[in-house]
Amino acid sequence: MKCFIGIDLGSTTTKAVMMDTSGAVLGRGITNSRSNYDTASQVSKLEAVVSARLELCHRALSDLPELKQRVDELLAALERNFRLELFLNMLEDLKQTCLENAANERHEKIGQELVTALHTTFDRMQTQLSKLFAPGVERKSDFFRDLAGSVYMNQSEKVADEAGLPFDVLINIYDKSIIETENRPPAEDLVTTFLRALDRVLDEVGDLPVEQQTIRDMVAKALDIELEETYVVGTGYGRVRLPFPKEHIRSEILCHGLGAHLMYPKTRTVLDIGGQDTKGIQVDEKGIVVNFQMNDRCAAGCGRYLGYIADEMNIGLHELGPIAMKATKTIRINSTCTVFAGAELRDRLAMGESRADILAGLHRAIVLRAISIISRSGGVTSEFTFTGGVAKNEAAVRELKKLVKENYGDVTINIDPESIYTGALGAAEFARRAAEV
């Protein structure tokens, strides 16, 4: 079948959206940009293909009336086990890479001990990490690096301690190896991985109202559908690095405008807060951009500002919003410089202000900056859509709603749960339209 793909290469994450001829979304994929846009775009595309395959499997299995009640459960299990299989493949790849890097002559004297230590570490990692893919378990991140990294640090430290090996050698081996592994596409083809995952599912779910072989056949058929990459459009900061001809590249302003329009056709103003950009975009009734403003020279007030603050406070990025929601008051923090805001934050903490109140102030600071960009682009006159990674942060959303109301009165504010894919969605639609012409 014909497929249209949009890839949004952001400073933090790379997103891909796959669309069919009718404009329906088949799949979405996301990965960390890892300073290597070629790989990031490949991986995100692969992720989108995986999610498209799952969608096609869903469509196929939904055709079996007997299965109707259990399709969602089966698909969830299939995805989980597929992720597990993919994860185990990568973990094996990482292990082999670590072993190769350990064989470097620099480590000659402790070579054998290192090999043993790595084997032990990886055995423990596999046991521990496999549990993350059990039913009902929530993973903090879906990125291999995040999951494998923390457990490796933890286990290898213990193993090094037990074996009397220098821990930093194990760290160095890991640092070198993770980059190599991360930048390598999976060696195994997806269909094989899917089918192995399906076997796990069928073992796991027990009795089903249809023959296992029927399900296998249906899934195999869905996996057999050729996903033809008819047209790919790239957008985002890394777009010029893509091996695309120029006509396959669109500015992310246009993509975000069109993506927001597809999600909410009545949108007239779009605010996107990404890793290093805040964009205020005005669109017309067709999703065509009529005006835009962006932050200039400095990315204070963007997603990275929150990332920096999270690091300064030694908490996870995703914890910032929930903590700020507990605030009882809002402390005033500047938003013109990230580093100064960090200093202000330490100063406030030292003065005894609560973390929650300070974080509420930080969220207000970034939204204030965004409001200024919106007003420069022409303000909010009608329906308003908030997109980008920061739209997932509840404290930022709360402040935004407050400030939009204060400045522009009651307007509809849209936030799509998949808003991080807005740019990629717009790009996919551009791809679909380009192929139509």
Partner: protein
């Protein structure tokens, strides 16, 4: 078009002539110890070159020196030198490049030291910084200073009163100062002769600017435009050489129109004119070629710009008038773009968008230039409203390389070009 940036820059013969003129001028400036000629330092807007020449004096323009140093990638170190001396990060970077250059030997592009000026001729035309700049220079050089205070066109008109005020100062302050420093008696006929030359060059210059009304435009009126304004804005207005330069330039452009050619770029003729833009604000000088390339490689040509009017708004009809030699100098100073108020600037931009059939207005806002930048966003919104054409806003700096962020500028420009394209397609599909 050749995309290899390492290849030699392609230049028209007018550009080569200008290069020779500039080189000769710097040779003259750095050779005053032998020739005994006196130097007057002054600014581009309100530059009284015809008058200065009446006293056998040379005209040295510190802004132009800063631009030269910016284009030769030397300004960054000069700006930092000035900051070391205590000048804030927010100060105009032309000023800092100039001050920094002094501390670094004040070398002209020919490698010879630039002699100290004998007179600081401060024609104050709308830029407050000019006054502070020469205050610093006076402190440095301790030389004679003459200030010509040109009233700002706050109400958008030049009254007789304003004109009389400038004329009076020219007669009572400026001319006596020039006579005193040079030891040459003022000869009004000599001034008339120079003004006659100016007007001749100005006619051809305006013809060149207006050639951009053609489709495709044979010139780029911003990036190419800064070369075209070179002689008329600097030490050559009123000279035979400038007349010759503009005749040559005009012939070149006539030829381009006949051949249906687009503008010349450093990589040869621009092939496909896809976007026609009006630009407000000075260019960035430290990354001039890189900046220009972002336009021509996407087929964007600037058909009119306000920066090319800072040294005189000739396309609105002003000509130096040999029959009223002092009054015409007053009118010239009063009418410079920098001395015009916001609503006059908006009117000009609106007319440019319409008269030159442009796709929209782009503003290059200069970080360290409050004089130009204040109110620019409002101007853009007003022009958008009046013309119905989309505007865009980018920010760079004059000669401080730290404020040119290529990735950001390119990102905004590409978005703008694509936005224009998308709008066109929207209009086409709606039709």
């Amino acid at each position: 078009m050749n995309t290899n940036s390492q290849t030699e820059v392609i230049k028209d013969s007018s550009m080569l002539l200008q290069k020779t003129m500039i080189a000769e001028n710097y040779d003259e400036l750095t050779n005053t110890e032998e020739t005994g000629k006196k130097i007057s330092a002054t600014f581009v807007p309100g530059n009284l070159n015809e008058l200065v020449m009446c006293f056998d004096m040379l005209n040295n323009l510190p802004e132009i020196n800063a631009i030269n140093n910016g284009m030769r990638k030397k300004s960054g170190a000069m700006v930092m030198q000035a900051e070391k001396q205590g000048h804030s990060e927010d100060v105009c970077t032309y000023v800092k490049a100039d001050i920094g250059s002094m501390s670094r030997g004040n070398l002209a592009p020919n490698g010879k030291p630039m002699p100290s000026p004998d007179l600081l001729l401060l024609s104050y035309t709308g830029c407050f910084t000019f006054m502070k700049w020469f205050e610093l220079l006076r402190h440095e050089y301790g030389c004679e200073t003459a200030m010509l205070h040109v009233p700002y066109e706050g109400d958008g008109v030049v009254t007789q009163n304003m004109r009389d005020y400038v004329v009076k100062q020219l007669k009572e302050v400026v001319i006596p100062a020039l006579e005193k420093v040079s030891g040459v008696k003022f000869d009004i006929d000599r001034l008339r002769e120079n003004l006659r030359n100016s007007a001749r060059a100005e006619d051809d210059f305006v013809w060149v600017l207006e050639s951009a009304k053609n489709k495709p435009s044979p010139i780029d009126a911003y990036f190419g435009g800064v070369y075209y304004i070179g002689p008329i804005f600097t030490a050559f207005r009123g000279t035979d050489k400038a007349v010759e330069y503009y005749q040559l330039l005009r012939k070149e452009i006539e030829q381009r129109i006949t051949e249906g050619k687009g503008p010349i770029t450093p990589e040869g003729d621009m092939q496909d004119e896809r976007y026609r833009l009006v630009v407000e604000g000075p260019p960035n000088w430290t990354n001039f070629r890189e900046f220009w390339k972002m336009f021509y490689e996407d087929g964007a040509v600037v058909v009119a710009s306000t920066y090319t009017k800072v040294g005189g708004v000739y396309d609105l009809g002003f000509r130096h008038d040999p029959d009223n030699p002092i009054e015409t100098l007053a009118d010239y100073c009063l009418g410079c773009y920098t001395n015009r108020n916001l609503s006059q600037r908006v009117d000009m931009l609106e007319n440019y968008v319409n008269d030159y059939q442009a796709d929209g207005l782009l503003i290059n806002s200069i970080k360290s230039c409050n004089s130009f930048s204040a109110g620019q966003l409002l101007m853009m919104q007003e022009v958008e409203k009046r013309t119905g054409k989309p505007g865009a806003f980018i920010e760079t700096d004059l000669v401080d390389p730290r404020y040119f962020s290529a990735a950001n500028v390119k990102n905004r420009l590409e978005s703008y070009f694509q936005m224009i394209e998308q709008k066109r397609q929207g209009i086409r599909s709606a039709a």
